[in-house]
């Protein structure tokens, strides 16, 4: 379970998160939508400790992410994350990218790590690209590789940070399909996304972020339907559709 309690985050004077609370249960898929600069991506970075916080706390399986004595390297093994930006390791092949963490973090023997990596690459449909360097992959394939790379660590949670935002439109669906597959398998997921169709179809709950707070959270039928209580949500959705 991921518990975000009243989290505050500032970059200098800029207050990005102004007391965000959110709980994600095991097996749940939560999508986060909202305008640029509303703090969606920043929240993901705070959940796996890539960003510090100035107030509140984040608990992952009861472990306080930002406590001084928390072993972040160990905690991050249960939290996979895929970023928006190009983040394949360019000097390693697809297989090497995917094997790296099982080998170096979990200390698995080479053959075992390779088997894990190949299984995950098969999962995302890249098993024919094992020895290819990322520069030879399309954006969609790179993102699927990044998903396989995170999955190779057998995480309990997966965080997706606008993973389709930098992609050409025709490549978006292959990545979303991979994410759907994961959701169907019961992975606990938090997806920051601008893909409203995905948020509506796949999520158990949708959170609408506005100016650093969770303006509204509820099942997709509430957020996207007429029952939405927040005028801000309505305004946002009216503009993106």
């Amino acid at each position: 379970m991921i518990e975000v309690e009243n989290v505050q985050k500032k970059f200098g004077l800029l207050e990005v998160l102004k007391g965000v609370s959110l709980t994600v249960e095991k097996g749940e898929v939560v999508s986060i939508i909202g305008g640029s600069g509303s703090g969606k991506s920043t929240l993901l970075m705070c959940i796996n400790g890539l960003e510090s916080i100035q107030g509140g706390r984040v608990l992952v399986d009861g472990i306080d992410v930002h406590a001084k004595d928390t072993n972040l390297n160990k905690l991050r093994q249960r939290i996979g994350i895929v970023f928006q930006q190009w983040n394949a390791f360019p000097h390693l092949t697809v297989l090497e990218n995917t094997m790296l963490a099982p080998r170096k973090v979990l200390g698995k023997p080479k053959e075992e790590a390779k088997a894990v990596a190949i299984a995950q690459l098969e999962h995302v449909g890249l098993v024919d690209k094992l020895d290819v360097y990322p520069s030879k992959l399309s954006g969609g394939q790179q993102q699927r590789m990044a998903i396989a790379r995170a999955l190779a660590m057998s995480p309990k949670y997966m965080l997706f940070d606008e993973v389709t935002s930098a992609l050409d439109p025709q490549l978006v669906s292959e990545v979303l399909d991979t994410m759907r597959l994961l959701a169907d398998e019961g992975m606990t997921m938090i997806c920051v996304t601008h893909e409203m169709g995905f948020a509506r179809d796949v999520s158990d709950r949708v959170a609408f972020f506005h100016e650093g707070v969770v303006e509204e959270i509820g099942p997709p039928s509430q957020i996207f339907g007429k029952r939405s209580k927040s005028p801000e949500t309505k305004k946002f959705l009216a503009n993106v559709r």
Binding site: N73, R76, V105, A146
Partner: protein, 221 residues
């Protein structure tokens, strides 16, 4: 007007001795590059550190190495340290001087190279559970070496040529040292130094050629 007869035969007879000197030259250049690279990485990291003292130390090193003559740096390693009671022999003093110089120049090259690697690469590494050092070693360094590979080739050429300054601290076993000994014995200055120049040229060509080959082998992506 031109009262000089070339005597090439004795000069060519000295070739084996000069080639032996060339080996010492290569040895000093390679060692100074290896040690210099390690120090330069540390300096580049220190210059981006949050600790002011680390940044200050790195900047003193880099500024001195880049803005004073290599000759002065080698003098300091030999006579300067000697005057405070640390006596290095000529070989070590030359090696120290060139290493100091290499480290300073390379540190700036590496600093630029580090900035060329997107910060998301480090984040991606850390997000997989790799520690800060592992991320640097496994993800940042390999990319850095590709970026700085050709500037480094430049630096090793420079290092090879700088070894000739060893003669000013009494080194007589490297290529210039051997040549100078032959010169003072025979006064066949032109012949010996012409041969030495050709050998220097060939060494640097060999090094840049091998670097190109290595790059082709190493950087497949």
């Amino acid at each position: 007007m031109f009262n000089y007869t070339f005597h090439w035969r004795p000069a060519f007879q000295a070739l084996p001795a000069m080639l032996e000197g060339a080996l010492i030259t290569i040895q000093i250049a390679v060692l100074s590059m290896l040690i210099g690279t390690v120090i330069a990485i540390a300096l580049a990291v220190a210059s981006g550190s949050q600790y002011r003292l680390a940044r200050f130390g790195a900047s003193v090193w880099v500024e001195t190495a880049r803005n004073t003559p290599a000759l002065f740096q080698i003098y300091m390693a030999y006579f300067g340290l000697g005057s405070i009671g640390i006596f290095l022999d000529s070989y070590i003093a030359l090696l120290a001087g060139i290493t100091f110089n290499n480290a300073g120049y390379l540190a700036e090259t590496f600093r630029g190279g580090l900035r060329a690697i997107p910060p998301i690469q480090t984040r991606a590494g850390r997000s997989l559970g790799l520690g800060a050092f592992s991320t640097f070693r496994l993800i940042v360094l390999p990319q850095l070496f590709r970026i700085v590979f050709y500037p480094m080739t430049n630096q090793i050429v420079w290092a090879i040529l700088m070894t000739s300054l060893g003669v000013i601290v009494g080194l007589n076993i490297d290529l210039t040292g051997v040549t100078q000994e032959l010169n003072v014995r025979t006064f066949r200055t032109f012949e010996y130094f012409a041969i030495a120049a050709v050998i220097y040229y060939l060494i640097t060509k060999l090094v840049t050629g091998s670097a190109r080959l290595a790059a082709w082998k190493l950087f497949k992506y």
